[in-house]
């Protein structure tokens, strides 16, 4: 059995660590048991993990939630319930962005980093949106592991993995077996942190300035697209001859 607060051999900190950092597991970081969490490569009690997640998501720049296919596609009652709990969690983070990872198909030649995150190049979305804290939830583990490692390699983003399975060594904070109940505890931890006086980044003068500037830029972009978008004028409007050989 692993012991809580074991001393770290390798710290899992926000990067950028550079190209091809070693996986945290290869450096001796082990996964927590149920009732524990993992913060920066150290196994800690579950309660300490909630606090670390709340602090990171409330105080760091441009907090973002990346919901994966197990959240955004509601093909069962359970996934739909989980999705609504994730939205409740998001509502507790002022200025939060929600950028989905709807599937794992490679997206080339170009992604829209404001609309989507892709496990083949997650760093593009994080760079573009200047995200410094994020939560991955509902992402299948094999893709989450790859994504977390790439994010740590190339960005300064604090990653949180709310994993329904065993957790992730390469996240800065990770909760294993994260079911609906644990997600609600994360939401509660966010509320508690705010009650205790933690000022969310979005409500700080710097955060307000940045979000206002971003909103203004998006407004201008939308206006530019609305006035310059080409209309579809192609022979396909008339259709092809079905019987042509």
């Amino acid at each position: 059995m692993t012991t809580a607060t074991s001393s770290p051999r390798y710290q899992v900190l926000p990067g950028p660590e550079g190209l091809l950092p070693p996986s945290a597991a290869a450096m001796g970081v082990v996964l927590p048991q149920d009732g524990e969490g993992l913060v920066e490569g150290v196994i800690v009690p579950e309660a300490a993990t909630y606090k670390a997640i709340a602090k990171a998501m409330l105080t760091r720049r441009n907090p973002t939630i990346f919901p994966g296919p197990l959240v955004v596609w509601g093909w069962t009652k359970h996934t739909q319930e989980k999705a609504s709990v994730v939205l409740e969690l998001a509502a507790e983070i002022p200025g939060v962005k929600i950028i989905p990872m709807p599937d794992y198909r490679p997206i080339y030649p170009k992604i829209d980093p404001e609309a989507v995150i892709n496990p083949c190049h997650p760093n593009l979305t994080i760079w573009h949106n200047k995200i410094e804290a994020c939560i991955f939830v509902g992402v299948h583990c094999h893709f989450a592991s790859v994504t977390l490692k790439m994010v740590r390699a190339g960005t300064n983003c604090y990653t949180v993995a709310l994993c329904a399975e065993a957790g992730h060594e390469d996240a800065m904070a990770s909760l294993p077996h994260c079911d609906i109940e644990k997600l609600q505890r994360v939401t509660e931890a966010l509320r508690q942190a705010k009650k205790e006086g933690l000022v969310p980044w979005a409500l700080t003068p710097a955060g307000k300035r940045e979000l206002a500037a971003e909103a203004e830029q998006k407004r201008k972009q939308r206006k530019a697209i609305a006035t310059s978008a080409p209309t579809f004028a192609h022979e396909l409007v008339a259709g092809l001859d079905e019987n042509e050989e």
Binding site: I107, Y108, E242, E245
Partner: protein
Amino acid sequence: MSLDTLKISPGFESYMPKEYVDLVERGPYGRDVKVSEMGTFKEIIEEHPMCAGCAMTLFIRTALIGLPAPEHTVILGTAGCGRLVLSQASIPFIYGNYGDTNGVASGLKRGLEIRFPNQTKDVVVMAGDGGLADIGFSCVMHSWFRKEKFTTVMLDNEVYGNTGGQESGMTNKGMVLKMAPFGKKFEKMDMIGLAKTAGVAYIARLAPTNPTRIANVIRKAVLIAREVGPTYVQAYTSCNIEYAIPTPKVMDDAREVEKDRYGFMEIISDEAKAYLERIEQEKKAKAKAVAASKAGA
């Protein structure tokens, strides 16, 4: 995948990228779409990283429209240009190791039959001439001899385009390529003849000159593979890079090659023919019944 997976969780509709919302609302899932309707529905593949003017991309795009049930289809591919498009399509894609696609497809089809006894699942192998006629030759032939019920589609660009222009078994005799500077010494492999010998239920050869025909051929091949046995489609999909075909001339080349040596050809077994006639009659009867019930109402 099934239609049940294509529901966005309540509350997330506004966060989903437009592409995905379009797939849910206007995708080809659970309904028949025609080539003539292109532009009115969200296609399974739209963006891709292939070379400008690539005939293979045109073929794949149209072939995917021909799939009778894309929501219940799994595509297998292997190393080569085709997988760059196929892996981006909104349809499950399995990347087989070079050479084993038809072996993997055999196991997959049998497994799906056991796992989903009440739902037909279509398996389609779509790979290049190198993947099917050269490196995957053994698995292709044995899957045909075993009468495995899935479709094999060869994207025949007559070269190893992805690796710089080596000759393949499907390259024409005498052809000089970047990595075959003395010209190919042997004839193009007769995969159609081999398919005939192996008793493949439906064999088609075509060039990408007629989009409707591509979709129809793929549809027939997939339907016959469900009930009758293995089917094989061999499509000329030129590599405009390795064959130095100017981009605007790609379709001219396809038409010339079609006229010269790659004319449309279909070989269909009696059993497959009877099966197609039967489903056509059933379709007509169903449409008639729907029309009658509407008129009655």
